[in-house]
């Protein structure tokens, strides 16, 4: 096998002989050319810092992000790009294996499939169709210095890399990836390629203030159809529908990702990855962690429903 030489001065290393497990390539892998409605680096978030007011953060759709990394044999915690809806554009600076998953924004490349990009390839997301968040994983993951144990971005605390047009991103060194001989492609099983236009009813577990809601209010919550509001983002997804009565808590309590808080206007908010760590509104329930990745892909205007799981004495 021919030696592979790094393009950056001072980082030359030769890979000789075979089987060659590591091939040192130029670290620069892609350039951000346009941010569109939003691009950020994310991984699975920061564990252990919420008691200091640092939100968990990380990918909004853990299911799609995990598949993008898995298709490339990346470590599960590898950092990837998370795109919001549409408008972003990137350019690849060298040949690399990548995988896209999550929302369909008409990028012209297949989702849920490992594929090889070439130097100079452009990838853009002109028009959102279904879902909200698209994920792009690169072979080995993005090389970003971790802060507080994670590579994910939390702009309010200057954690992670705040992207701007023109930024060049490096990839982590990775073992050579290729499809086995005779295999045409590697893709996620059909059942895993979610149709975000048709979400299931989301499971909700009881939460600390469940008992303070009347049986009628709870029954109304679970029998109603709720609409995802356009006032939704990485902090929380607001739901519009029949108002529920609510009052401030005497003292703020810790808020879990997935907790459903009901503020004074009676319209529930599902707390998402960048939600503040404590909150003063009563919590009607908490969305099951696995179902949250589905809910995150429901776009504004989309209708959603909830179903109780666990012990709900008021509903029996």
């Amino acid at each position: 096998m021919a030696p592979a030489r790094a393009l950056r001065a001072g980082r030359t290393r030769y890979a000789m002989g075979y089987p060659t497990r590591w091939r040192r390539m130029s670290a620069a892998v892609l350039q951000i050319q346009a941010l569109g409605l939003g691009v950020s680096v994310q991984d699975h978030g920061r564990v252990g810092w919420r008691r200091f007011g640092v939100p968990l953060g990380g990918v909004m759709d853990a299911h799609a992000a995990t598949w993008a990394n898995r298709l490339l044999n990346n470590p599960s915690g590898a950092a990837l790009l998370e795109f919001l809806l549409q408008g972003a554009r990137i350019c690849f600076l060298r040949e690399t294996w990548v995988a896209l998953s999550g929302a369909d924004a008409s990028c012209g490349f297949p989702l849920w499939r490992a594929m090889r990009m070439r130097h100079g390839d452009i990838m853009e997301f002109p028009r959102h169709r279904t879902g909200v968040w698209t994920y792009l994983a690169v072979q080995g993951g993005l090389a970003i210095r971790p802060r507080l144990g994670s590579r994910s971005t939390y702009a309010p605390a200057c954690l992670g890399q705040i992207l701007k047009p023109g930024d060049i991103m490096d990839g982590e060194p990775a073992p050579a990836f290729d499809l086995p001989h005779g295999v045409a492609s590697r893709l996620a099983p059909a059942l895993e390629q979610r149709d975000y236009a048709r979400p299931p009813a989301f499971r909700v577990w009881p939460a600390p203030q469940t008992e303070s809601f009347s049986a009628e209010a709870l029954a109304s919550f679970f029998s109603s159809e709720w609409t995802v509001s356009s006032q939704s983002n990485r902090v929380g997804y607001r739901l519009t529908g029949r108002a529920l009565s609510s009052a401030l808590l005497p003292w703020s309590e810790p808020v879990r990702v997935g907790a459903i808080q009901v503020p004074e206007n009676g319209q529930p908010i599902v707390m998402m990855r960048d939600a503040p760590t404590i909150g003063g509104y009563p919590k009607l329930g908490t969305v099951d962690a696995a179902d949250l990745s589905w809910l995150a892909q429901c776009c504004p205007g989309q209708h959603v429903r909830f179903v109780p799981v666990g012990a709900w004495p008021a509903l029996e």
């Binding site: 200091f52 007011g53 640092v54 577990w205 003292w251 907790a259 760590t277 404590i278």
Partner: protein, 225 residues
């Protein structure tokens, strides 16, 4: 103490129903016990005011383990308050909302300042934003509602009053509390290495700390941390 299910693998433990010395020392005792002898499967805990969230790895914490932990946390004792050394924070009292706070409490501005720096405060919770401390107990005459609409940009280091608490903004961003002063103390050193690397926390204040404000005419050039 009341345990409330918060999803399948998490619990909220409510250890007090009023915010006072008892709530503060209970929080310290529970936090210390969890730090020193964490139960198996515990991923993270988040204390706040009168309750604490405990999150466990899926399926790792059953009813028998919960009862055992409950009894252990019930027995946990904290050191007495007097032995908790207060962290000193220098403050220059020149905030734009001093008059507003004074008017609310029918005081002179000088009286507001004196009543603010005199007590030793307890950090009841850290949240809202990274490192932001909720301090009590604030002199009743200084209790002031939040601004009708928040400021778009509050600089870090701004000392403020919101409702029944006083606090210090730690990162640039919007804020609705009444600004009464400034500190050069760095509540959150976001460029600092993680605790594992440097051995010191990037956060100046933790839930369970005590704080003493020290009035200064001018802020020291260097950060006090």
């Amino acid at each position: 103490m009341k345990w409330i299910a918060y999803g399948p693998d998490a619990w909220l433990l409510q250890f007090a129903d009023k915010l006072n010395d008892h709530a503060f020392t209970r929080a310290r005792a529970i936090t210390r016990e969890l730090e020193q002898r964490p139960p198996e499967g515990l991923i993270e805990f988040v204390p706040a005011f009168t309750s604490i969230l405990l999150e466990f790895a899926q399926g790792s914490f059953d009813e028998a383990q919960r009862k055992e932990l409950a009894s252990r946390l019930n027995r946990a004792r904290a050191v007495s308050m007097a032995r908790v050394r207060a962290k000193e924070i220098a403050v220059c009292y020149d905030g734009p909302d001093l008059e507003r706070v004074a008017a609310q409490g029918r005081l002179e501005v000088e009286q507001v300042i004196e009543r603010h720096w005199r007590p030793v405060y307890k950090v009841y919770a850290v949240g809202f934003s990274p490192g932001f401390p909720y301090l009590g107990d604030l002199d009743r005459a200084l209790h002031t509602p939040r601004l009708p609409s928040p400021r778009a940009h509050v600089p870090p280091g701004s000392v403020a009053i919101g409702g029944v608490h006083t606090g210090i903004y730690t990162v640039p961003g919007p804020g609705g509390w009444n600004l009464i002063g400034r500190t050069s103390a760095r509540l959150f050193r976001w460029l600092a290495a993680d605790r594992e690397e440097s051995g010191t926390s990037p956060f100046l204040l933790h839930s369970g700390d005590r704080v003493k404000f020290v009035r200064v005419a001018e802020l020291p050039r260097e950060a006090t941390t």
